[in-house]
Symmetry: C2
Subunit: 95 residues, 2 copies
């Protein structure tokens, strides 16, 4: 299954060039989102959760005050896959 | 103001004895909550967010799959205060 094959570092870089707010440590992709209010951040978390449930792919989220860090990886593939970039693009569409 | 005076380590331990699911690293108190479903975890996050807004005191939350780690500290006091334990007790009441 393609979903279980991690992308190569070159493929990851190619995808990242289209999602410039995301970065990688090699094992996952991450983006920090900042908000005007705490409630805006919570609304965003709910939007990400809805997208995650629809995709059956669940990012880690770190919620601070008016700040949410989203981290995506594909555990089955032990790396970054197309699924992560698909959900990242959808999450970008929420803001 | 009492809110800006951190509790002593002895006071923190006394409070923790009443909230046995919480632990401390000295600077903050933390508890890991586990859920049957991803949606249950998200509902909990919203409950915590409502309590946080009402208290004007905002914990950090780390959301994984069916798991939420809540961390409380009082930045103004550079330590743990009564406010943290008050909100921790309220959060315990959500589950």
């Amino acid at each position: 299954m393609a979903e279980r094959t991690p992308l190569t570092p070159e493929e990851v870089q190619e995808h990242l060039s289209k999602l410039p707010d995301w970065s990688t440590d090699g094992d996952a992709i991450t983006r920090t989102f900042r908000f005007k209010s705490y409630k805006d951040g919570i609304a965003f978390v709910n939007g990400v959760a809805n997208a995650a449930e629809a995709a059956d792919h669940h990012p880690d989220m770190a919620l601070g005050y008016r700040r949410v860090v989203v981290t995506l990886t594909t555990h089955d593939a032990k790396g970054i896959t197309q699924k992560d970039f698909a959900l990242a693009a959808e999450i970008d569409g929420l803001v």
